[in-house]
């Protein structure tokens, strides 16, 4: 497990750079491409332990990292309005969060927040390699 945590933390550093310097779909593809070359996390329990070890970054970078290490995981983006506002970018009145789902549900139910607005689907390594 220690190796899995170390690998995830290194991948998370890469994810932080990818999200900072590229757009979301591109960042997802980059993190996925690196993550699929690493040993897989077998279940939600292992993913939860790895996720808990990740520090810094954002919920999106942490979610990309964990999802890239699991076959068939999704990263879900949830949002909710905090108050009324006019059109504005990076609106402070919007709450947004990202979490990982696998096997039809979140790997940590406590991590779900807001209503789904978008979903990043990560590939299974077996389908990529076949």
């Amino acid at each position: 497990m220690i190796r899995a945590v170390l690998r995830a933390n290194v991948l998370h550093l890469f994810a932080r750079a990818a999200v900072r310097w590229s757009r979301p779909h591109r960042a997802k593809a980059l993190v996925e491409a690196v993550g699929m070359r690493l040993p897989r996390l077998e279940d939600a329990s292992a993913a939860g332990r790895v996720a808990a070890s990740l520090r810094g970054g954002t919920c999106l970078t942490r979610a990309f990292t964990v999802a890239a290490l699991m076959d068939g995981a999704n990263v879900v983006v949830g949002v909710s309005p905090l108050e009324r506002s006019i059109v504005s970018p990076r609106d402070p009145s919007i709450f947004a969060h990202a979490w990982v789902e696998h096997g039809g549900g979140p790997i940590d139910a406590r991590d779900v927040a807001g209503a789904e607005i978008a979903r990043f689907v990560f590939a299974r390594t077996s389908s990529r390699l076949s």
Partner: protein, 94 residues
Amino acid sequence: MSAARRFHPAEHVHFRAFDDAIILLDLSEGEYFSLDAVGAFAWERLTRGETLGEIAAAEAAEFSVDEATALRDLEAFTSELEARRLVTRVEDAP
């Protein structure tokens, strides 16, 4: 004629409706936007393919505003959406 214009959400834009607001997520830029109740009213109709004229008439019936004012506001609203690449204009067949 601006009243005949139609728009649809850009491919990279995801949106979610709430009670009196809509949140837009531009995945090409990673930016969020919120629309208030009037903006949400217009957005829902834009996504149904209604023209600005049809939406202005609906706004006049729904809110205390005359149709000409509603149309001017819609032109400004859609111009801003277009400038931010959140919608694309639907070109009618000649």
